[in-house]
């Protein structure tokens, strides 16, 4: 087997649609009609998505080769075959949606440039290629699949209890398609700023600073307990002639479910794992991607593959119930996709074995538990004392945290727990609640420098 090298970006080239020169940006936006970006909300007003996060992830190359909001033919292709018009695989509809009222007030047409405002400042442009309408419920249903059409892995029809389904169902019906360009680079707030490694930068750090040849990605939306830490350490034993040189934690930052941990605690919790030597910083690095998680299990795992390949990872670990909520999908749906493919979603073979597919390699992992007979944290496929297992249960841990009980270090590292408490003191709550969602929606992760819009 030859030595593994950093894979090329998905689609061959990293998308970079961020204008850094103020004069060029000003020329681009002069005289443009403007539109202040709005969150997607549930009927009760709860914010569940902010399109600014998608614009950031596209323009900085996380979603390469996607460059903007999809035209109708591309939307259909993604829903039917999970492929872009350029043939490259891609899992999710990426859409810039506005309401009928806003569309009427905007008075824009194909060929126009629309300036998107954020927090009252110019943020990005969209060069309008097409304007069309969708049935949001239809898009939502087809995005995640149905038990009838996708019997390999869909177990229950998606409904209003599924957060990702609701994100698409609550999309506005008018879609403005076209490429995004960021014209006013946002500044990340603390602590986000120190974890911001867009793909080009991340590849540079991996190559020149960390000097990792092989890197395995770890998806997270959670503060890590020791079960997660063991998963990272053990999955990293894959590689080629030696274990992977690096472990890249990539947290998904965006609107969350109530009861999840706040984003700040997730990032600093993972950081504590390397800062305090549980996995030393020479081997472990924490980053994030802006995305309002769709909880799409196998579909989400494809996006994770795209993002982390673009960031320069060679491998990606996948556990069971990957990016899942509820029992809509088979608990092994992601592993089935990466192990054999899911034909009804367009994959006759795994995503890294099809044409125009991904180059990142999957590492499907089972479970870790504490075994009192082995007297160690054991791998479920090794330890034969199934009846004696003591599981790392997320809900059990959350109960412990809520109660203010200091978890034992074999369950959660004390420094990780302290990261939870630090943000608990800031928000007066250890988990995401309505107040946090509203605050997050207002403040976002960034600030925008002041910028005038010159007259045409």
């Amino acid at each position: 087997m030859p030595l593994i090298k950093t894979p090329p970006p998905h689609g061959g080239k990293l998308v970079d649609r961020v204008v850094k020169k103020r004069e060029i940006a000003e020329k681009m936006i002069a005289g443009c009609p403007t539109f202040e970006l709005k969150p997607t909300t549930l009927p009760d007003g709860t914010p569940i998505r902010h399109v600014y996060r998608e614009i950031m992830s596209i323009c900085y190359g996380f979603f390469s080769p996607v460059e903007g909001s999809m035209v109708q033919n591309e939307l259909e292709r993604v829903l039917n075959e999970r492929r872009l018009l350029s043939e490259w695989i891609f899992p999710y509809p990426i859409l810039f949606d506005v309401s009928e009222e806003d569309y009427k007030a905007l008075d824009v047409k194909e060929g126009d440039r629309l300036l998107l405002m954020l927090k009252g400042q110019p943020f990005a442009t969209i060069d309008i290629e097409e304007i069309y309408r969708i049935d949001p419920t239809d898009v939502a249903t087809r995005t995640f699949g149905t038990p009838e059409k996708n019997p390999e892995v869909v177990r229950e029809p998606f409904n209003e209890k599924h957060p990702g389904y609701m994100i698409y169902k609550m999309h506005n019906p008018v879609i403005i398609a076209g490429k995004y360009t960021i014209v006013n680079e946002p500044k990340f707030k603390e602590p986000f700023d120190r974890f911001w490694f867009p793909p080009a930068k991340c590849r540079e750090v991996i190559k020149n600073e960390k000097k990792w040849r092989t890197v395995i990605a770890h998806q997270t939306r959670n503060v890590p307990h020791v079960g997660h830490e063991m998963l990272m350490k053990a999955a990293a034993f894959t590689g080629d002639i030696e274990p992977c040189h690096g472990i890249l934690v990539n947290a998904i930052i965006g609107a969350k479910r109530r009861g999840d941990y706040p984003d700040e605690a997730i990032l600093e919790g993972h950081e504590a794992v390397n800062k305090y030597g549980y996995i030393k910083p020479e081997r472990h690095m924490v980053t994030f991607t802006l995305w309002d998680m769709r909880y799409g299990n196998p579909i989400e795992s494809l996006l994770h593959g795209v993002i982390r390949q673009n960031m320069g990872c060679t491998h990606h670990m996948f556990g069971r119930d990957h990016a899942a909520v509820g029992e809509y999908y088979d608990m092994y749906a992601t592993q089935i996709l990466w192990g054999e493919g899911i034909p009804s979603f367009g994959f006759e073979a795994p995503p890294n074995e099809v044409d125009y597919g991904l180059k990142i390699m999957p590492q499907n992992m089972a479970e870790f538990w504490y075994c009192p007979i082995c007297q160690e944290i054991a791998y479920s496929e090794s330890c034969g004392h199934t009846d004696a297992k003591q599981k790392f249960s997320g809900s059990f841990l959350r109960g412990m945290v809520a109660e203010g009980v200091f978890p034992p270090r074999v369950v959660m590292r004390p420094e990780v727990y302290k990261a939870i408490v630090k943000w608990w003191k800031v928000y007066n709550y250890p988990f995401v609640n309505r107040k946090y969602l509203d605050m997050k929606n207002k403040e976002l992760e960034i600030d925008l420098p002041a910028m005038e819009v010159p007259k045409a």
Partner: protein, 115 residues
């Protein structure tokens, strides 16, 4: 069939029951690092708990889970006071007060006193 409530003992809680007969009743998990006490709850009383707290449920092992923090804290307080696990009636007497505290838990849970 009775149900159970597990009360985790961190160092602070352990100190409060150390040297009492309760010490013999501690259940050890994760190589002895996680200590807990298990309170038995007769079925009619666990029904009352489920009725009072709408998120509460019985898990596959028969443990009452997803009860408010205030409830669990009250269970430990009564255990520490009585030096016994036979406290469920005492806890149920405090239900109105616990319910009041639980109402605020969607908005506020007091953070622990650690630096």
């Amino acid at each position: 069939m009775p149900h159970y409530i597990s009360v985790i003992l961190d160092d602070e809680r352990y100190a409060k029951i150390k040297g009492t007969p309760l010490e013999e009743k501690i259940t050890y998990l994760f190589g002895g690092q996680l200590k807990s006490l298990v309170v038995e709850v007769p079925e009619e009383k666990s029904e009352q708990i489920l009725k009072t707290f709408d998120k509460a449920r019985i898990d596959s092992r028969g443990y009452i889970e997803d009860v408010p923090v205030a409830f669990r804290r009250a269970v430990f307080e009564e255990i520490a006071k009585a030096k016994s696990l036979d406290v469920i009636d005492k806890v149920l007497e405090r239900l109105p007060e616990i319910q009041e505290a639980a109402k605020k838990e969607d908005e506020y849970i007091p953070p622990p006193e650690i630096e």
